[in-house]
């Protein structure tokens, strides 16, 4: 302990500039969420894997210059070789190219279906929250009716009526999925509406459009992203299941489900024909799920700091 000198005891008071200074750099909600996400190794891994998958989906079929239709009967049912990395199927078609084209179709369907689900769900939920009263009650009852029908049954019926095409599958997948989104959006808007900052905007004279676009939507994007991140893998899985059962897409259309279905038929003799599509399906779904978990943690405001 060094000696204390007299001039250390001169009164200097506090510094005015230090009073309201904020030490840390400014950080927005999204920057903060991204920072949290970066700290999650599993989520970052999933992003890398998904990135890789997207690249492969786009360029995969072109890497070896095989297209997914050409049959080469001489080369049928060959295991993975240097020429065909995933081997060939019973008609001599290159499985590597087919797998990626199939994945492309699966993911495309999933994304489109998610888009429909979100758009319709948001509009429906917003209508319920906005009008309230008997409109809300009526729309809610409709959702409950839809929910009480087993979704698989409904999907099968629709496919049977509309046929095994891409658009039909899209309709079948999204016909019941929007209910959850609508309910979430309704709850979110009802909650936001009571927030004091919405009241403050009303007192300032903000019209409904301004409130919707400047206040509601930015505050809802978080849950919509989460909704999408769980919906996409779910749709991929469902489509695979439907196509596997023969209710979804059918050959010559390709998707992962179709490939799995075909692979299953020659499972005993040529297991690799089943293995590769399954593997890719699992990797995609797992990557999305893990990313979804990471996003949930990153976007949850309660976990801030």
């Amino acid at each position: 302990m060094s000696e204390l000198s007299k001039d250390q005891f001169k009164i200097i008071g506090y510094k005015e500039e230090n009073i309201n200074k904020i030490e840390r750099p400014t950080i927005s909600y999204w920057q903060d969420a991204w920072r949290r996400l970066k700290k999650n190794p599993i989520a970052m891994m999933s992003i890398v894997v998904l990135g890789l998958l997207v690249v492969l989906i786009i360029v995969g079929p072109y890497i070896q210059n095989y297209d997914y239709i050409t049959m080469n009967v001489a080369k049928k049912n060959q295991g993975p070789t240097g020429a065909n990395w995933f081997g060939t199927d019973n008609l001599g078609r290159d499985l590597f190219a087919r797998t990626w084209v199939g994945a492309r179709a699966s993911i495309l369907i999933a994304i489109l279906a998610t888009g429909i689900k979100l758009l319709f769900g948001v509009a429906y939920g917003a209508a319920m929250a906005h009008f309230g009263g008997w409109v809300d009650e009526l729309l809610m009852r409709i959702i409950e009716v839809i929910n009480s029908i087993p979704s698989l049954l409904l999907t099968i019926l629709i496919m049977m009526v509309l046929g095994n095409s891409f658009p039909a599958l899209l309709v079948a997948l999204s016909i019941t999925s929007w209910c959850n989104t609508a309910r979430q959006v309704r709850g979110m808007i009802k909650q936001l509406r009571e927030s004091e900052y919405i009241y403050a905007a009303e007192v300032l004279g903000a019209g409904p459009l301004r409130i919707i676009f400047k206040h509601y939507i930015p505050n809802m994007i978080g849950i919509l992203i989460l909704d999408a991140s769980t919906a996409i893998p779910s749709f991929i899985f469902t489509e695979a299941g439907l196509s596997f059962l023969g209710i979804g897409l059918k050959s010559p259309d390709i998707s992962l489900g179709v490939l799995i279905s075909l692979g299953q038929q020659s499972m005993d003799f040529y297991p690799y024909q089943l293995l590769f599509p399954c593997l890719i399906l699992c990797v995609i779904v797992m990557a999305f799920n893990l990313l979804g978990d990471g996003l949930r943690d990153a976007l949850d405001p309660k976990l801030r700091r």
Binding site: L4, K6, D7, Q8, F9, K10, I11, I12, G13, Y14, K15, E16, N18, I19, N20, E23, R36, L303, R305
Partner: protein, 351 residues
Amino acid sequence: MESEKRQIDTSVLRVEDLRVSYHTYAGEVQAVRGVSFHVDKGEALAIVGESGCGKSVTAKSVMGLIKPPQGEVKKGSAIYFQEENILNYNKQQWQQYKGGKCSIIFQDALAALNPTMRIGKQIMENLQIHKRMSKKQAAAEAVEMLRRVGIPEPEKRARQYPFELSGGMRQRVMIAIAFACDPPLLICDEPTTALDVTIQGQILDIIKDLQKEKNTSVVMITHDLGVVANIAQRIAVMYCGMIVETGLAEDIFYRPKHPYTWALIRSVPRLDLENKQELATIPGTPPDLLSPPKGCPFSTRCTFCMPVCLERMPEQTPFEEGHTAACWLHHPIAPETPVPVLKGGAAHEGM
């Protein structure tokens, strides 16, 4: 030496150099940084401070509610309850201690009570565990406790659930549960902050009555100086994780020695004072506990800050009757400063 010995003989609770940190996403938050105080038998000590000063964390430490790994009570801290260091308790000793020897009343009664259990049963649970009463005895005693805390129709109320009662009633139930086992020590963590002022008076009266009746020591955590004036014999003022001043209630209110205490007392408007007079304020906000200042925690906002305050932590300067303040202004070398003497009934402009 003699008074210290006396302290050790009569104190129910003695906290020495308590240090508690929370490990968060952003780093280590030093919530409590070296807090020492004692509570004698039958007396009420108020720990006053603003939000973030560490008073709730101190209360939780005494109650054993700091959960690792996020919360950490640092080595070198000691909490002596009736001469035993509770930080060294094993599981069985903790069970006996919590609720039996030391009880706590929280601010939010609704969150602290079990929503699925009837009121009477919650009191009985405590009695059965700590006083080993039979079910029948405990039931009768529970009803008696409810009557004692002023709940009308106690037999009927004992069969109700917490959500059926109003805020004030729930707080009384918490008091009943806390006092049921005649604990020598009661901790109250802002028990009246969420209540209306007319109910607040009733609750404070109940606590005071039961305190006198059972000779319980009370540690009252609050930010409301009015509540402190009503109930406390001794006061400890906390700021930024440390106790800056301790003393008898009269000493703290009328002869405070620390600039923070001066400012705090003069920033509270009193009913019996002039209208629209400018209130004394403390400019700025308390420092971040993630990186607290090296020297005195109040240095960044103190009108009397000196260079030594920024560099070194002040020591506790003792005054009469156990009154201590941690401030460099009381060092022999420090310049003479006009210390405001706040007489009872009116505040003088001294600063």
